[in-house]
């Protein structure tokens, strides 16, 4: 439906302020269809707030956010429901509903937006769990019984339930062991290649960034510097230099080039 050049997300002059604290100050961001866009920045620079603003969960102090060319804050109910079905989200802490099993969590959006029989729901949730790389026996478990890696995957399974074109991931590999994190990277790349997804991912994980992201946006002083990884790495800003050229970054970069 959208050619590769089409802009999926457009953020213009975004300002977010909390009780005197300025989090975003004229932030600009653009994401095109079928790219994997990484958002990085120090803790508390407003990555999660940016995500919440794009999703329409947080009304910005000023500025304009467009999803598929429609302004997020000014959508009718029907438009909103249409756009909601086109994106999937995983939150920083998984945000699975604790009183529902994993399978029921995955079925939640399906129950809301599709009219399916019980058997069809089970069938679809099995698909989503398999896509997210979860074993079938995870279906009947409750979120409190899952390990960190399984929680992230269950959240991904729920995000995939409506076959989104656009996937938002908030720190999907944070707190995972390196092997699980690498497996998550591969899973993401695989799904991206199979499903024509656009992915916007907040991450601190340099390995993930170098392995998966085409372009990155760095939040600096409430604004965003974005570009391809190679260009951003050359940016002289001290934070970027410290981030991409610190002791931990070298190995990741070598891993990518090697």
């Amino acid at each position: 439906m959208f050619d590769a050049a089409e802009t999926v997300i457009r953020v213009r002059g975004l300002v977010n302020r909390f009780a005197g604290q300025v989090v975003h100050d004229g932030l600009e961001m653009e994401v095109g269809a079928r790219e994997i866009f990484g958002i990085v920045g120090g803790s508390g620079t407003g990555k999660s707030v940016l995500l919440r603003t794009i999703l329409g969960l947080h009304p910005p102090t000023a500025g304009r956010v467009e999803l598929y060319g429609r302004e997020v804050g000014a959508m009718s109910r029907a438009e909103r429901s249409d756009v909601v079905q086109r994106f999937g989200v995983t939150f920083q802490n998984g945000a699975l509903i604790g009183s529902l099993t994993v399978a029921e969590n995955v079925q939640l959006p399906l129950r809301e937006y599709r009219r399916l029989a019980r058997a069809a729901l089970d069938e679809q949730s099995r698909l989503c769990l398999a896509m997210a790389g979860l074993p079938p026996d995870a279906a009947g478990k409750y979120p409190s019984q899952l390990s960190g890696g399984m929680t992230k995957r269950a959240a991904l399974a729920r995000a995939l339930a409506l076959e989104p074109e656009l996937l938002f991931l908030d720190e999907p590999t944070a707190g995972l062991d390196p092997i699980s994190a690498a497996a998550f990277d591969e899973l993401l790349l695989y799904l991206h290649s199979q499903l024509d997804l656009t992915v916007v991912m907040i991450t601190h994980d340099l390995d993930t960034l170098f392995r998966t992201c085409g372009r990155v946006g760095v939040i600096l002083d409430g604004k965003m510097a974005s570009g391809t990884l190679d260009r951003i790495v050359e940016n002289p800003h001290p934070w970027i230099q410290a981030y991409f050229h610190g002791p931990r970054a070298r190995a990741s970069r070598e891993g990518r080039n090697g």
Binding site: M1, Q85, G98, S99, A103, Y113, R114, R115, L116, A117, A120, D122, E123, Q124, R126, L127, L129, A130, M131, P136, D137, A139, G140, Y142, S144, Q145, L162, E163, Q194, L195
Partner: protein
């Protein structure tokens, strides 16, 4: 165009034409089309995807699953111009084949359920006893180690359970005693004994209503808050974190709440008594036309030295009951948020029940003692 499925052919050579809207949003409709397929097939089946519009993953998956159920291994499936993800889905299918295992909860007859219920009661009684034991142990320790009193926490809870409850306690005590005084004066007027409405108010408010109403309000306000606060900490593994750092959650969280309520509830009771008398007095004055000096005289005559204390002495007992039940329910929250809601409800219901039960026991006791 709506989704459609057309099956033709015969013997062991079948042709399935997939057409129309096969996107994810048409999933419900696709499910209906799939239901129209015959229950079983054999031979070779060619799926022709060339007329399918933007075929989605969910519908393609549903088709694969349905064909597998129909074919039961006897059908060879070929795809003509399939969407890219069909191969992907076929790879996933083998991984997802095993279904969700049914959980085995053991025998489920009436007798088995009764047995499990009795056992669970026994477990709970034991758990509750050990909880009370830990509270006593902390109190005993605190006598020798003043730091265990946790003063900052104590003052915060006195404020939250006591000071912030003053307006609602005043309001309710005032209104209820006005109502009682009004009904009483109506009845007493029949005997020309309206002056005794003062006795009625004094005894009802001081002995029973002041403390009982306050306890019920506090059970609803603070009993539930205790359960919810501690329960949320359980869910968040904060209690485990405290334990891991070598701190005793009973000392840190439970005992300060119990002590705070033991301080706050008697004070609230005094306030409720005062506003109750005020409310009753105002009604007696304006409705029954009893002058203020008359009221004061009658009040002095009606109140025995023990009347006030008979009410107040119950307050710390009620406070301990409410706080212990609330914190215990909070500590019992495990795993799911639904449990949090359930335990909070139980905390309120049980603490009100215990308060009323204790009040009845006090009544019997006071009669025996001639108090």
């Amino acid at each position: 165009m709506p989704s459609s499925l057309a099956l033709d052919g015969g013997g062991d050579d079948w042709h399935l034409r997939i057409a129309g809207d096969w996107s994810a949003r048409a999933l419900a409709e696709v499910q209906i089309r799939l239901g129209d397929l015959p229950p079983s097939l054999a031979g070779t089946l060619t799926c022709d995807w060339s007329a399918a519009e933007s075929p989605g993953i969910g519908p393609a998956w549903a088709l694969l699953m349905r064909l597998e159920a129909i074919g039961g291994g006897r059908v060879r499936i070929q795809h003509v111009s399939p969407p890219r993800h069909v191969v992907f889905l076929e790879a996933l299918r083998d991984r997802a084949r095993t279904g969700i295992p049914a959980d085995d909860a053991g025998p489920n007859g009436a007798l088995a359920r009764l047995g499990r219920w009795v056992l669970s009661r026994g477990d709970e009684a034991r758990e509750f006893a050990s909880f009370v034991g830990r509270i006593v142990a902390v109190l005993v320790r605190a006598v020798r180690r003043p730091r265990s009193w946790r003063l900052p926490s104590l003052t915060r809870h006195v404020h939250e359970t006591g000071v912030t409850a003053i307006p609602i306690v005043c309001l309710i005590a005032f209104l209820i005693s006005v109502i009682v005084a009004y009904l009483g004066s109506q009845q007493l007027r029949l005997f020309g004994a309206e002056i005794f409405v003062v006795d009625l108010i004094a005894i009802a408010v001081l002995r029973e209503m002041g403390v009982l109403l306050t306890a019920i309000i506090v059970a609803g306000r603070s009993g539930s808050a205790f359960a919810a606060e501690i329960g949320a900490m359980q869910l968040n593994e904060e209690i485990d974190a405290l334990r891991a750092m070598g701190m005793d959650p009973v000392e840190l969280l439970v005992v300060p709440r119990i002590l705070a309520l033991t301080i706050a509830l008697p004070l609230l009771t005094v306030i409720a008594d005062a506003t109750g008398l005020l409310g009753g007095g105002l009604l007696a004055h304006y409705q029954a036309h009893i002058s203020w000096p008359q009221f004061a005289d009658r009040l002095r005559a009606a109140i025995a030295p023990t009347t006030f204390w008979a009410g107040l002495i119950k307050a710390p007992v009620f406070a301990v009951l409410i706080a212990v039940v609330g914190t215990y329910r909070g500590m019992r929250v495990r795993e799911s948020p639904r449990e949090l809601g359930r335990q909070t409800t139980i905390a309120v219901v049980q603490s009100i029940f215990f308060v009323i039960l204790a009040d009845a026991l006090f009544a019997v006791l006071f009669v025996r003692l001639g108090f």
